[in-house]
């Protein structure tokens, strides 16, 4: 399985995300934001955390219009898998691939700490979990997920809220930490699973996300 991890100016979790994919067994290619096409035979795209373009205008807004993102949208529209973490989630909402928006944290402070999550929507991204509760770090200033009541109802009804905070650190509507697309092939989440894969650094609850992903993709 081939993963393409995009780097934007200001990305700072791109290497971590690439390592997380590689540790799970993906062949990883790093892709620059000015590239106009994804590598051939890309199976999944990773949009990393960070502060692309300095969070100018709105978080993720300028990255969403970058040359590579046009191809990511094409790839996703064709049924491709996409994982967006933190700034990657913000980019996914700005491209319109996922509904809603990530606003400034309700408490106005940057939040960086491990948080407990409940797995509340099953998809290919949660297949590796045999538990319903995990601990993964967050590190963001704009993680306050908001969408219209109709959109939130739809996400709930379709089981697309992949992760919810046990105790929301940012004021997100309905404690939403991560959502999937209608076809279940795009996941955007604020917490960082790629920062929780190595026992030497503490929590490893992020690893099953990547391990489960490649297992399902290999058998599909």
């Amino acid at each position: 399985m081939r993963a393409a991890v995009i780097t934007f100016p200001g990305s700072n979790c791109d290497r971590d995300l690439a390592i997380a994919f590689a540790n799970a067994g993906f062949d990883v290619t790093r892709v620059w934001h000015k590239d106009t096409t994804l590598p051939e035979h890309t199976d999944i795209v990773g949009l990393p955390g960070g502060f692309s373009f300095g969070d100018y205008l709105r978080c993720g807004a300028i990255a969403a219009q970058s040359p590579i993102c046009r191809d990511v949208v094409r790839f996703a529209d064709g049924g491709g898998f996409v994982l967006g973490v933190c700034n990657g989630f913000q980019i996914l909402t700005e491209t319109g691939l996922l509904p809603g928006i990530l606003m400034r944290n309700a408490g106005l402070t940057f939040v960086a700490k491990p948080v407990d999550l409940r797995i509340t929507g099953r998809s290919i991204f949660t297949d590796g979990y045999r538990v319903n509760r995990i601990t993964v770090p967050v590190a963001h200033h704009d993680g306050n997920y908001q969408a219209s009541d109709d959109e939130l109802d739809q996400l709930d009804a379709e089981g697309r809220v992949a992760f919810r905070y046990v105790d929301t650190p940012n004021g997100a509507a309905r404690d939403i930490a991560g959502i999937t697309s209608a076809n279940g092939r795009i996941l955007g989440m604020m917490p960082h699973p790629e920062r929780a894969i190595d026992p030497a650094l503490g929590d490893t609850d992020g690893a099953p996300l990547f391990a489960g992903l490649i297992e399902v993709m290999n058998t599909a």
């Binding site: 205008l57 709105r58 807004a61 300028i62 219009q65 909402t93 700005e94 509904p99 809603g100 928006i101 606003m103 400034r104 944290n105 309700a106 408490g107 106005l108 306050n144 908001q146 969408a147 219209s148 004021g171």
Partner: protein
């Protein structure tokens, strides 16, 4: 020619930054500030003859996120 684009949060959208500014004004002794909404003003220096429709397209595609923001264009 110039276009000035005012981007503001839609009514009903919580504005944590506006709330913080309101709280700071209250703390400074400015009474009677019932609400603060923070937005953006974007000045565009444009080639003569650029149509308002083009500026609208810029707003829809990049300058505003119409999920939560509305915009107003002033051509000068």
């Amino acid at each position: 020619m110039k276009a000035i684009v005012h981007v503001t949060l839609k009514n009903g959208v919580l504005d944590p930054q506006g709330e913080a500014v309101k709280s700071a004004l209250g703390g400074m002794g400015f009474d009677g500030v019932n609400g603060v909404r923070q937005g953006k003003v974007i000045e565009l220096d444009l080639a003569e003859g650029t149509s308002e429709a083009t500026v609208t397209e810029m707003c829809e595609k990049l300058l505003a996120n119409t999920v939560i923001e509305s915009y107003r264009i002033e051509l000068t």
